[in-house]
């Protein structure tokens, strides 16, 4: 499979008044043409900042401080703003996590969908209008003709999210980055949207990066999964690797904390105790050690290297070192 995107050692920081927040601390991964990968991980671990870096949409005081982002043969880290404007909303489109801040409150929904269609795809006003209405219908918004004339604040949370999805899909991008695209949607509509994304993947070979907290959603859509923690990738592999043979203690914790709908009795959920490290002062060793029940001395001092468990499955944990004690994943 050819790769559409190759991210190498990406590092992104925020230079705040209290110091440098190392939000993304050296992340490398690839996305194949027509492949859907999932990124999961604790809130604040850098998923959105990774995607904003790819889109080059970081705002002050955020800055890419190292690494490269190769998209279709071009390093986006070095691209000019003008080149990025051509790529954004055309070759790469993004569904943002916060629909309210990315929709403009003073323009109608219809106009906001039409604008990029007229700019990038050179549609006429009436063509763009027809397309906007069709897209709204596709993402399940009833009475799209009337709805298109309304403003963002008149839409419910989930409807705003669907507007974002309609905008992102309307340009048939090569790469779609979807940051929590379905969190606000009910599962019947979610199923519809995920179907729409799968269709896009099959019909026009769009590659997808799906960022979500919902392990159920990644299990359904993605063939490969990246698990992030505190700004780095701690494990990546096929979805089967991650669900059936996870090797990083953080991934174990993640899988343990999901409630099971079939549960007969009400059982207390098992969260991962403690908090993620402050990225202002990331620990020298393994970022997970303060919460890891298997932590050893070396974990505090040195960052664990990646161990290749198969050509696509790798994890960064000292337990995988040949000298480490054997530890089983608890239940």
């Amino acid at each position: 499979m050819k790769n559409i995107l190759e991210v190498q050692n990406l590092q992104t920081s925020f230079f705040t008044h209290v110091g440098e927040v190392k939000a993304v601390g050296g992340v490398s991964f690839q996305v194949g043409v027509g492949e859907a990968i999932g990124i999961v991980g604790e809130s604040g671990c850098g998923k959105s900042v990774t995607s904003l870096s790819i889109m080059r949409l970081l705002t002050y005081p955020g800055q890419i401080v190292g690494g490269s982002i190769n998209f279709a043969g071009k390093d986006l880290v070095k691209a000019t703003e003008k080149e990025m404007q051509r790529i954004r909303g055309n070759e790469i489109s993004m569904i943002f996590q916060d629909p309210m801040t990315s929709l403009n409150p003073v323009f109608t929904i219809g106009n906001q969908i039409m604008e990029p269609l007229m700019r990038h795809q050179k549609l006429s006003r009436s063509e763009a209008k027809a397309k906007a209405i069709e897209m709204l219908r596709l993402v399940g918004i009833p009475s799209p003709e009337k709805r298109a004339a309304q403003y963002p604040h008149e839409f419910s949370g989930g409807m705003r999210q669907r507007v974002m999805i309609a905008m992102a899909l309307s340009c048939q991008p090569k790469l779609l980055i979807a940051d929590e695209p379905t969190t606000a949607l009910d599962v019947t509509i979610q199923a519809q949207i995920l179907e729409l994304m799968k269709e896009l993947k099959e019909k026009i070979n769009t590659s997808i990066i799906l960022i979500t907290h919902d392990l159920g959603v990644v299990a359904e859509v993605c063939s490969r999964i990246i698990v992030m923690y505190a700004g780095i990738i701690v494990e990546q592999g096929t979805r089967e690797d991650i669900f059936y043979n996870p090797r990083h203690p953080y991934t174990w914790g993640l899988l343990k904390s999901i409630p099971h709908i079939e549960a007969e009795k009400k059982e207390r959920l098992i969260p991962i105790d403690g908090q993620p490290p402050d990225l202002l002062k990331p620990p020298a060793g393994c970022p997970f050690y303060p919460r890891c029940e298997h932590a050893m001395e070396i974990c505090v001092e040195q960052r664990p290297p990646y161990t290749d468990l198969s050509p696509v499955h790798k994890a960064a944990c000292w337990l995988l070192h040949y000298n480490a004690p054997k530890v089983e994943r608890g239940n």
Binding site: F14, V18, V21, V40, G41, E42, S43, G44, S48, D98, M100, T101, T108, G110, K129, G140, P142, S143, E145, K146, R147, A149, Q150, E154, F155, S156, G157, G158, M159, T183, A184, L185, D186, V187, T188, I189, Q190, A191, L194, H213, D214, L215, G216, V217, A219, E220, F243, Y244, L254, L255, S257, I258, P259, H260, I261, R268, L269, P271, I272, Q275
Partner: protein
């Protein structure tokens, strides 16, 4: 304090919005966001509310705390009808009821530090000052899984999930009795979701809190709720205990919802039988005759387009609004 068993009673609540434009020009329309909804919540109970995006869940929450004026119906809190209270008369109730908002981005004031955001309700209701205030804020931050140092930072410096926890800390600051949790955990990752849900449960056990828990993650709603109401387009379709709902859903929409839940297991995900709904979601602006689910319902018959199905107690404590409930189950 009075001790009514029922803390909140919502009677035939309606909330309509008036919309005046069409994309191609057009006339005034009424959007029936909430259309004749009744339920109660007992003290110390958690009622879950699930349903399609745009079906009116947030509007119900906002109307209960009177951010919106009800179009019709009544809201009774601890025995007192609060539907038409003035802003000043509402003040004591504002302290007793809090809402955790759905949108963690829009709901926090970006010019205030996190400490002041959490401290604001403490000041408004004169709860504490100086060192005590500071300690309460730090305790709240720790309670929701943030660090005490976070108090001096601003909302935009936090991720979506972190901001949601700031909102929860703020709601807890005035020690309310009743909290409307509007999708409080959808922005959180699963391990923090578990922390927050355990936290909400602990607070409920310790302080006897009552929750209206709005969400669309059905497995979490099942976990946290005693009873669950399923909404469709401004109306309740089904209402029963959470156990019963998941074991024996009776309404066709509930059946579809349950079958569409994504399962965190690749093998099951690939083999699971789903009820894929077809047909358009009707608009709350073009009220449909009869049952609002009929455009997508696989069982719809003649009667379904003629009369609106009323919510009826089909089995003890199990309420369903469907004409054909006995035929299809």
């Amino acid at each position: 304090m009075s001790r009514n068993k029922v803390l909140l009673q919502v009677n035939s609540l309606k909330k309509y919005f008036h919309i005046s434009r069409g994309f191609f020009g057009g006339d005034k329309t009424v959007l029936k966001a909430v259309d004749d909804v009744s339920f109660h919540i007992n003290r110390g109970e958690t009622l879950g509310l699930v349903g399609e995006s745009g079906c009116g869940k947030t509007t119900i929450g906002r109307t209960i705390i009177k951010l919106y004026e009800a179009t019709a119906g009544s809201i009774v809190f601890d025995g007192q009808d609060i539907t038409h209270l003035s802003q000043t008369e509402m003040l004591p109730y504002r302290k007793r009821m809090q809402m955790i908002f759905q949108d963690p981005y829009a709901s926090l004031n970006s010019r205030m530090t996190v400490g002041d955001i959490i401290g604001e309700p403490i000041d408004i209701h004169n709860i504490a000052k100086g060192q005590e205030r500071k300690e309460i804020i730090q305790e709240l931050l720790n309670k929701v899984g943030l660090n005490s140092e976070h108090a001096n930072r601003y909302p935009h410096e936090f991720s979506g999930g972190q901001r949601q926890r700031i909102g929860i800390a703020r709601a807890l600051a005035v020690q309310p009795e009743f909290i409307i949790c509007d999708e409080p955990i959808s922005a959180l990752d699963v391990s923090i979701q578990a922390q927050v849900v355990n936290l909400l449960e602990d607070l409920q056990n310790d302080l006897g809190l009552t929750y209206l828990f709005i969400a669309h993650d059905l497995s979490m709603v099942k976990h946290i709720s005693n009873r669950v109401g399923v909404m469709y387009l401004g109306k309740l379709a089904e209402l029963t205990t959470s156990k019963e709902l998941y074991k024996k859903p009776l309404h066709p929409y509930t059946k579809a919802l349950l079958s569409a839940i994504p399962v965190p297991d690749p093998k099951t995900a690939d083999s699971k039988q789903r009820i894929i709904l077809e047909g358009d979601v009707p608009s709350p602006m073009n009220p449909l005759s009869g049952c609002r689910f009929r455009t997508r319902c696989p069982y719809a018959g003649n009667i379904c387009s003629e009369t609106v199905p009323e919510l009826q107690e089909v089995e003890s404590g199990h309420w369903v609004a469907c004409h054909l409930v006995h035929k299809i189950n």
